[in-house]
């Protein structure tokens, strides 16, 4: 079975150590929640996996292929294989929903015509299908900036799906959403995990949501793993320690 293996990963920024010797193994089809207070290194870990930033030392491998040494085209392929969604959605506000979703194909299939916003019919149909699955097909030609936060995050999910990813990295996907929209978005992510069997790694601020949706939780504190296991085995004391004073 395919898996993501992280071995003694370290990331130092000039003064601080954001990730301090982390080793994890995540299997295909798992839905993993990464929990911890802000500044614990959750976001850094996501960015390391996607290679948006370079590790100081250690290794990340997927299916036995070392990720940290990829370059050029292979690196772009890897990035498109592990799709990412963000706390602030990071969409192109001034463009319509469909173009935003289609922009997910820029990594796997770059064409000069795409710089003129011209995409193939096949890709448009695919994009519209994902939007339809997320109940957004009626908004396809609306500007993203006019949508609500929850809708925007679902556009971002559709964009991620356009990449045909093997892994979905979700960096605080619901932090800027209200409870109702949070639920919709988390349900959608869960559906992707269950139906398509895509590995999901999800940074979550809220412990309740993490417990509700994830099969496995990894607790980070000061860049170190302090918990790794099924949500039910997370004790109250440990949880309090994880969140420190920021307990919600």
């Amino acid at each position: 079975m395919a898996s993501l293996e992280i071995n003694s990963l370290v990331k130092k920024f000039s003064e601080t150590t954001a990730i301090n010797d982390i080793s994890i193994r995540i299997l295909d089809g798992e839905m993993v929640g990464i929990i911890g207070k802000s500044g614990a290194g959750k976001s850094t870990l996501m960015r390391l996996i996607n290679r948006l930033i370079e590790p100081t030392s250690g290794s990340i491998a997927y299916n036995g292929i070392e990720i940290t040494s990829l370059k050029g085209k292979n690196l772009k392929q890897w990035r498109s294989k592990c799709a990412m969604i963000f706390q602030q959605f990071n969409l192109i506000d001034r463009l319509d929903v469909l173009t935003n979703v289609l922009s997910g194909t820029l990594g796997i299939n770059f064409k000069l015509l795409k710089l003129l916003k011209i995409y193939s019919k096949k890709e448009k149909i695919e994009a519209l299908t994902y939007l339809n699955n997320l109940d957004l097909s009626d908004k396809a030609l609306q500007r993203v900036g006019t949508l609500s936060g929850g809708q925007q995050q679902r556009v971002a999910i559709a964009r991620a799906m356009m990449q045909n990813p093997s892994i979905l990295l979700a960096d605080e996907p619901i932090s800027s959403l209200d409870p109702k929209n949070s639920k919709v978005v988390m349900d959608d992510i869960k559906k992707i995990n269950k139906q398509d069997g895509i590995m999901v790694i999800c940074n979550l601020h809220s412990l309740e949501i993490a417990k509700e949706y994830c099969d496995r939780l990894i607790g980070l504190s000061d860049g170190k793993i302090v918990f790794d296991g099924h949500p039910s085995s997370l004790t109250k004391e440990l949880a309090e320690q994880l969140y420190d004073l920021e307990n919600e």
């Binding site: 019919k121 448009k124 149909i125 519209l128 339809n132 097909s137």
Partner: protein, 274 residues
């Protein structure tokens, strides 16, 4: 779901470009068309440019061969630089002096005569509508070649621009302070002195400095039509094909402008802080 069903969800997305947003599309086509038309209109061919560039080659080579550097007439070059700075300084300074009273008269808050204000503003618009080089060429005709014509052209254009900016500043001044003075029964002069000037003076100074900075740039080119300064030295050397000295002067100009920019930025920052 079949392909057809999906398409029917949003058929517009599958329209060709010109049908999806015809106005934007036409806009782009027009711009591209006009661009191509202009290229055609000016007979703008790559061959022409390339042959022109090959003509540039000996000029460029000559620019970088400084053989008789020690025989150059540095005296005239540095006099030219000094003249340029002098033109810019005096032009801005005199224009500032003239524009302060103009701005009071053109300001809504002090004088209530609409007609005078209107006439002054249109006159300022007219002055600004004429490019500085055109003023320069007219003044050269009237006063002869030399930096004096340059000074006058800078002065003229500055009156147009500073006059407008100053009167906008007085218009935007806080009315309460002026009314406060008026309510004490003070004369018009004291209203201006104590109600208005403290508010607008820093703005005037910083704008004048800014214009001094941009006027050093304008003063450089006035010499092209004979209005003195470093531009005159530069064009004379270009006409005589002294390309080495041409490059030297261009470098000097760049250095001078950079120094003035930095100095004026520092001073303006200090004035605003105070």
């Amino acid at each position: 779901m079949s392909e057809k069903d999906i398409i029917s969800l949003c058929p517009k997305a599958f329209y060709p470009l010109w049908k999806r947003s015809p106005i934007v599309f036409t806009g782009y086509i027009l711009v591209i068309f006009y661009f191509l038309f202009c290229l055609y209109y000016f007979d703008f061919s790559l061959g022409k440019i390339l042959s022109g560039l090959s003509n540039m080659k000996p000029i460029l080579v000559a620019m970088f061969t400084w053989n008789d550097f020690f025989n150059w007439n540095f005296n005239s070059i540095f006099t030219g630089l000094a003249q340029t700075l002098g033109m810019a300084f005096l032009g801005t300074f005199l224009a500032t002096l003239v524009c302060i009273p103009i701005s009071f008269v053109a300001s809504r808050q002090i004088f209530k005569f609409g007609l005078i204000r209107f006439l002054i503003k249109r006159f300022l618009d007219f002055i600004r509508g004429v490019d500085i080089l055109i003023w320069a060429i007219i003044y050269v005709r009237a006063f002869g070649l030399g930096p004096f014509a340059g000074l006058l052209s800078i002065f003229t254009v500055d009156v147009g621009t500073l006059g407008k900016l100053f009167s906008e500043a007085t218009d935007n001044a806080d009315a309460r302070q002026i009314e406060g003075m008026q309510s004490t029964g003070a004369s018009k002069i004291s209203v201006i002195r104590y109600g208005l000037i403290p508010q607008i003076f820093p703005i005037f100074i910083s704008q004048s400095l800014y214009f001094f900075e941009s006027n050093t740039r304008s003063a450089v080119i006035l010499g092209v039509v004979g209005a003195g300064g470093i531009g005159l030295q530069l064009t004379e050397r270009m006409k005589a094909q002294y390309w080495d000295q041409t490059l030297f002067i261009i470098i000097l100009i760049l250095i001078m402008v950079a120094i003035i920019d930095t100095a004026s930025r520092i001073i303006r920052k200090n004035i605003i802080d105070e």
